[in-house]
Amino acid sequence: MMDTILTLAETVRAEKGGGLLHRFSFGHVGNSTQAYETEWLYIFIVWVNIISFIVVMGPMFWFVFKYHRSKQATNYQQSASHNTPLELAWSIIPLLVLVPIFFWGFEGYLSKLASPSDAEEIQIKASMWNWEATYRNGAQPHPRDYVKIMESDLEVPLIVVPQDRPVRLIMHSSDVLHSFFVPDFRTKMDVTPNRYTSMWFEAREVTLRGDEGTWYRRLPNGKRDFVGHKVFCAEYCGNQHSEMAAGLVVLTREEYAQKLEEWLNPYSEGMSPREIGEIAYKKRACNTCHSIDGQRNTGPTWKNWYGYEHAYADGQKRMVDENHLRENILYSQKTLVAGYPSSMPVYAGVLKDIEVNGLIEYIKSLSDRGPYKDAPQ
Amino acid sequence: MATIDLGKHGAHGQVPANDDRPYHERYHAAHHFVDREHEFDAVKMGVWLFLATEVLLFSGMFVAYAIFRMMHPEAFINGSGYLDVSWGLLNTVVLLLSSYTVAAAVRHAQTGNQKWLRINIVLTFLAGLAFLLIKLIFEYYPKFVQGKLPGKFFSYPYAENPYEPLFWGVYWGATGIHASHVIVGMGLFAWLYVRARKLHFGPGHYNAVEGVGLYWHIVDIVWIFLFPLLYLIH
């Protein structure tokens, strides 16, 4: 019995993925060194399930067919009401199957949690609804490299990691619970506000670029598909939970080092406030709640916000000017717009001054009553 | 079986109206029980199950206490320092005495001593009241004034530990839920008194006295644990 189980496990494990069942379950082989810990065990349990299911359902259908009352001489039957050896057998044999499954699960769990101490460390700060990565040189993903991984046009951060080198994420949340989930690496970990949690992975293959050197390729149905690894938030965190995504691509070490240098200073010398604002709009994840095209979202749209009168939750109407915008950005709870949830965090102490000024300029540029109304947008 | 009359609303028990014996001698049993003894046993088991739910309700507070004392031991030592052991001790003694009077009340109900049954019920009620008054006047009120309040409302200016609000959260939560149980208990004793006046209790008919008594003992036991855990940390 035990031998059979172990042989089956060995066979599944040696297959190295790519089988029909594997492709059906996962789509493709996971791109990290411990992903296979999950995959082979998953496939093994699938086999255990299929066999057990046949063992249980086969007799059921057979009995229903064989002992249907239309085939019986009487409408009652006498047969054994219990059989101790049989009952012991079907209590103990499942246990024999479960013990190795537990043990392998435990093993794989350790290898997913215990990161090498020389891993490349990336700080991840989760907030509603943004993943903010900080690299060791202080660089953060730059909005110009943001990607669209959902069908909507929402741009989400692109996290880059080096190839063939363990990467450890040190994660914390600034508000509620989140969970950093990379399906392609077959692992996830909750991100909590009161302690650092960590997860690690080691990507095996460099992400190949898609069409025309972008991170996208066209699907047969004409839709855009992101070629890198998708990062999801797996712990429900509110309104835009399903938009709290990020892209993750694996670069060669040289490219990686280069990218980090590039990202070091998001606002370069000589940028206009409006340009800074446009970058900050994405970098500070304003775009998850505020649209610029007039659509309603978690927060009000920024289109034609400046220079107009809006109704507020306290029943008053206010004209939006620079001072008002600044107050609303930094201390969002002071005045709330009618009809929207009060979920905007306080940005005082978070945003730099040039960013606040830039955002105000950017909002002004989106209004047809602003100074930019004639400029091409 | 013959003694059981299946009335329309039989569950209320059968009490013939034109009979001048005391209530507890006229009352037999609800229709789905065989006799009074059977009902007595079932009710007592029900009360014990209810006590189980009470214990588990309080267990939540004790788990919270254990976890946060483990996480922030200094905050708990600091916080406990502000509690006056003597008032806690006095309250413990008051509750223990009331436990005794309840046990005595059950005894007097069993022996049919109506006068002392009533006296013990009243004494227990007064003990509960004393507990609440001591708590309110000498513990809750000063702390309220000084701002030793839970969580966000904590405004005590001389706090030494950033997690002290959490201690007060546990303190107010645990003692507050306990105090609410004391209030409910006092209500029950008032109800018992009214029924005792109507001679509802007697030998073999003291379910209610015993049930309320058991509840009161559990409230007492909770305090037996709360007292050292909150007051005697150092």
């Binding site: 249980v56 002992y67 249907h68 009652y76 712990e235 399903s242 009809g339 949830p341 | 919270a64």
Partner: protein
């Protein structure tokens, strides 16, 4: 009670089989209503619960349909248009919700809360359990009838709060109320407070029912009925009742602390004040895991009766099934940590993972015993028997896929994905609700005194079975491919499976509606039911009329045979080759 005349319909208790039925009106309409409102009769309370639960099931199901509809498109096109407009008109909070996910999040939460707290937890115990427990034990009522009525009113009162919350735009916390989101969302609104209060109140209803049943089983068994002479239905309800009594108070204190957190910010679950949100998860799942078994044990309990009566055979290994009920009830208290594999420390995770595998054994033992009961049986395929077989099929899938989730390494990948969603729907819906519907069919003649249309029932069962699998099986693949749960919008690659699933949900709904119409038709125009149409041997069939009289039995029953002694009782009353009980065709003689 020398002979048990179970065969002849209507022969039981001479001519007054319907005389004094508990369903009989009391004079005028108003006095009848008053009588029902103040009744302490367990049968009437059970029926009122049944109606309320089915109404709630309808609302919860509607929410589910909307959830599936919303997921037809990867973006939120549907909600932004049609449903979003309805919502906008109802609440005026922005007529066009546009890109916002508010609608989806709220409907998803409503679906969860209604289905868990208002439907599945009370479903079997409070309705069928209430109706049947005293009948099966040979008692006149449950131990505390007034407490039973109180439980029903508490349930109504709790539902009222839930409805109030829904009417004020609902909550978006998810049914798990995880902090700190639940303590901060919708600040300044009372919706969350109302919803939490509703769940808190419903806990009392659950405790009252459980407490009542435990005492009833202990104290009110008929003379001659030992512990191992009880029908296994009673064992299942008893196991669930123990869990209800011991676990529900903990959700009480949890929700109370959550309310304190919202009102006073006492900080126990608030990380800003040194509290710990993971502690909330421990508190929550200490109740909510055992309560999973409050949901499934009564489902399993029903299956015992259906399989026994459907195959006319003793339940194989009665004692093993009974003890496995207790084992499940016991182990259910020490496995809650498997809901926290991604949030708790590794020490606890490993311990909980090991314990989780332990709970698989008694569940497996039950399934094996049921299959063995079919062996050499005399099987009829009535609607309820088809439901019992569906249960075995679906619950096996649900149980086996639990192995993935108990295994730590695999769970890190599957946690909070659609795999989980599929798994627990296979257990909760495929287990409890399927058993519940099967049970309603089985006891329908006893409860209402009417037969239902057998053919319609069987078609309904087939639709439900197909629809259910079509809805939830694709979700396993979505989950293993990484589709997280509670997503209002998703990446394009999952669209095919989502649409598959949505279509399945329509088939499922069609099946359920067919059942509803079938039941209504039965009430209006059904054939009168004999006392024992299925030829079963438990006391409610052999000793009570259909529907039972107000005090259940004319004479207190004396138990002379076991609940599944078909092989000894039936031969004593029949010559070889002679059918005392209707054959399948006649058994399904509900339609002409």
């Amino acid at each position: 009670m020398a002979t048990i005349d179970i065969g002849k319909a209507g022969a039981l208790h001479g001519g007054h089989e319907h005389h004094g039925s508990y369903l009989e009106g009391k004079g005028g309409i108003w006095s009848t209503i008053w009588d029902w409102m103040t009744t302490v009769d367990h049968k009437k309370i059970g029926m009122m619960y049944l109606v309320a639960i089915l109404v709630m099931f309808f609302f919860g199901g509607m929410a589910a349909i909307m959830v599936r509809l919303e997921l037809w498109e990867p973006t939120r096109a549907v909600a932004g248009g049609f449903e979003g407009n309805i919502l906008g008109h109802m609440f005026g909070e922005g007529a066009n919700l546009g890109k916002s996910n508010e609608f989806y999040n709220r409907v998803m939460t409503i679906h969860g809360i209604i289905m868990v707290f208002l439907v599945i937890v009370p479903s079997v115990p409070a309705s069928l359990g209430n109706f049947l427990l005293p009948l099966m034990l040979g008692a006149k009522d449950v131990a505390f009838p007034r407490l039973n009525l109180a439980s029903w009113y508490v349930y109504l009162f709790g539902s009222l709060f839930a409805i109030l919350s829904l009417l004020s735009y609902g909550v978006d916390t998810g049914w798990t109320f995880y902090t700190p989101y639940s303590t901060t969302t919708d600040e300044g609104h009372v919706r969350v407070v109302w919803m939490v209060t509703a769940a808190f109140i419903l806990g009392f209803s659950s405790i009252f029912t459980g407490l009542n049943f435990v005492v009833t089983v202990h104290k009110l068994r008929a003379p001659g009925m030992g512990w191992f002479d009880m029908p296994l239905f009673v064992w299942g309800i008893y196991g669930a009742a123990i869990i209800q009594v011991l676990a529900t108070p903990v959700i009480g204190i949890t929700l109370l602390l959550l309310l304190f957190e919202r009102f006073f910010h006492i900080g126990i679950f608030d990380p800003r004040l040194g509290g710990d949100p993971v502690l909330f998860q421990h508190f929550f799942w200490f109740y909510s895991h055992p309560v999973v078994y409050v949901m499934i044990l009564p489902g399993m309990a029903i299956i015992n009766e259906l399989i026994g009566a459907g195959s006319r055979k003793k339940i194989f290994g009665y004692r093993a099934v009974a003890f496995s009920t207790l084992a499940i009830a016991g182990i259910s208290f020490i496995v809650w940590g498997h809901h926290l594999f991604t949030s708790q420390g590794e020490v606890a995770s490993v311990v909980f993972s090991a314990l989780t595998f332990l709970v698989a054994i008694p569940s497996a033992v039950k399934v094996f015993n049921w299959i063995a009961t079919l062996y050499k049986g005399s099987i009829i395929l009535t609607t309820w028997m088809l439901y019992a077989l569906s249960f075995l099929f679906l619950f096996s899938i649900g149980g086996l896929t639990g192995l993935f989730l108990g295994s730590l390494a695999v769970d890190l990948h599957l946690h909070d994905t659609y795999f989980i969603v599929a798994h627990f729907h296979y257990v909760m819906m495929g287990g409890t609700i399927i058993a519940f519907i099967g049970g309603i069919h089985y006891w329908w003649p006893k409860m209402t005194g009417r037969m239902y249309n057998e053919l319609a029932g069987q078609i309904g069962c087939a639709l439900v079975f197909i629809g259910f699998n079509a809805t939830f099986f694709p979700q396993f693949f979505m989950g293993s491919r990484g589709m997280p749960r509670r997503y209002a919008s998703y990446v394009t690659e999952y669209q095919f499976w989502h649409q598959f699933s949505t279509i399945g949900s329509w088939i499922l709904a069609a099946g359920l509606f067919l059942h509803l119409f079938n039941f209504i038709a039965s009430l209006v125009n059904g054939r009168k039911a004999p006392a024992n149409p299925w030829g079963a041997l438990t006391l409610e069939w052999t000793h009570a009329s259909s529907p039972p009289i107000e005090h259940n039995f004319e004479h207190e029953p004396v138990v002379t045979h076991g609940p599944y002694d078909y092989d000894t009782v039936l031969p004593a009353q029949t010559k070889p080759g002679d059918y005392v009980l209707p054959r399948p065709a006649a058994g399904g003689a509900a339609h002409h």
